[in-house]
Symmetry: C2
Subunit: 203 residues, 2 copies
């Protein structure tokens, strides 16, 4: 299963990340302690310091995996519908919400402000930018096909990002537990809201 090559573990780095993510999703960020993570991985409570500068660095690495997932999901939309920018956009919004619902606590960790900008690693920033660039590309594709309103690409992308992000955060933090519980309802809501966002709210 694991490599178990070297002195003790072989791939302690990833084992720690996996243990931390499991703890995070089960208990929330408040339930993650470095000592518990180490115990789950089967090493002493100081071993993690060989792989991460401190606790925040581990959490930042966890958030980074979330940004990687998000960036790759955005890029997959372009690949899956190379000729249809509107389908790219639709898939992107569904993928964003799905990731937030599938990994709610990682989403909170990415965007919930527990990690302050000072804690962000270079890699986290890089992957976060890559995710936004993926969305920018999708908007740019729509503009180049002549389908979108004549506004700055960045502004349209920021509007879409804000909307999808806001909905995802409200879901992952539990604020929509009454209005939208099951996945079917959420899919329908995303479609309906996406339609309004594209067509506009005013008559």
């Amino acid at each position: 299963m694991a490599k178990t090559s070297g002195y003790h573990h072989g791939d302690l780095h990833n084992a720690l990340l996996a243990a931390a993510e499991a703890l995070l999703e089960k208990q929330g960020v408040g339930g993650v302690s470095l000592r518990e993570v180490a115990k789950t991985a089967g090493v002493s409570h100081t071993a993690p310091y060989r792989h991460f500068k401190d606790k925040n660095a581990l959490l930042a690495a966890l958030a980074t995996t979330g940004y990687v997932r998000l960036a790759e999901a955005m890029e997959a939309c372009v690949r899956d519908h190379p000729e249809d920018p509107l389908q790219q956009m639709s898939q992107a919004s569904h993928a964003y919400v799905e990731l937030a619902i599938g990994h709610p606590q990682v989403t909170n960790l990415m965007f919930g402000g527990v990690l302050q900008p000072a804690d962000w690693s270079d890699e986290l920033g890089k992957e976060s930018n890559r995710a936004f660039e993926g969305l920018l590309t999708i908007v740019r594709n729509g503009q180049e096909s002549g389908r979108y309103v004549d506004k700055e690409t960045r502004e349209i992308a920021l509007l879409v990002w804000s909307t999808v992000h806001g909905f995802s955060m409200l879901c992952s933090a539990g604020h929509l537990h009454e209005v939208a519980e099951d996945p079917r309802q959420i899919t329908a809501l995303v479609d309906s809201m996406g339609g309004m966002l594209m067509q506009g709210i005013l008559k």
Copy 2:
């Protein structure tokens, strides 16, 4: 300044909340410890337990003050423009973003998932609902004036909430530090995005 009536403090409850909010906004939620809050308020580290069940209860009370501010801001929009639902909506979006930027760490605490649903007090839920109801009213006013698209009030409100909320969270968590730093830029962005949201993105 304070009441200093009773045995020691008179209004320790509010003194603790004020100390906690100051610590929170200065250091982020990770920098808030009950012992430090007590020290700042000038009492022993066990005194807070006379006023709050535990640390999460103090944080929940802090988040509740944020929801109160938000709910009152929403309700003020209706009062300030009794005959103009579109102005109500515009003011609401600006107020929401302003609160998030003015109290970024409280916003993170309200929506960032540190407080799990199990930690929510009844009062927090009540004020959170009141804030959303305020937004619902603004949307309903727009619908009754015949200006909005023929969709469920809840869905339009959820779309607007998601958009404004997403933008606010991206701001308060520091993810837009490059794209939008000064207040003037943010005001312009909110107007531009609000315009697109109302008119639609598609040609």
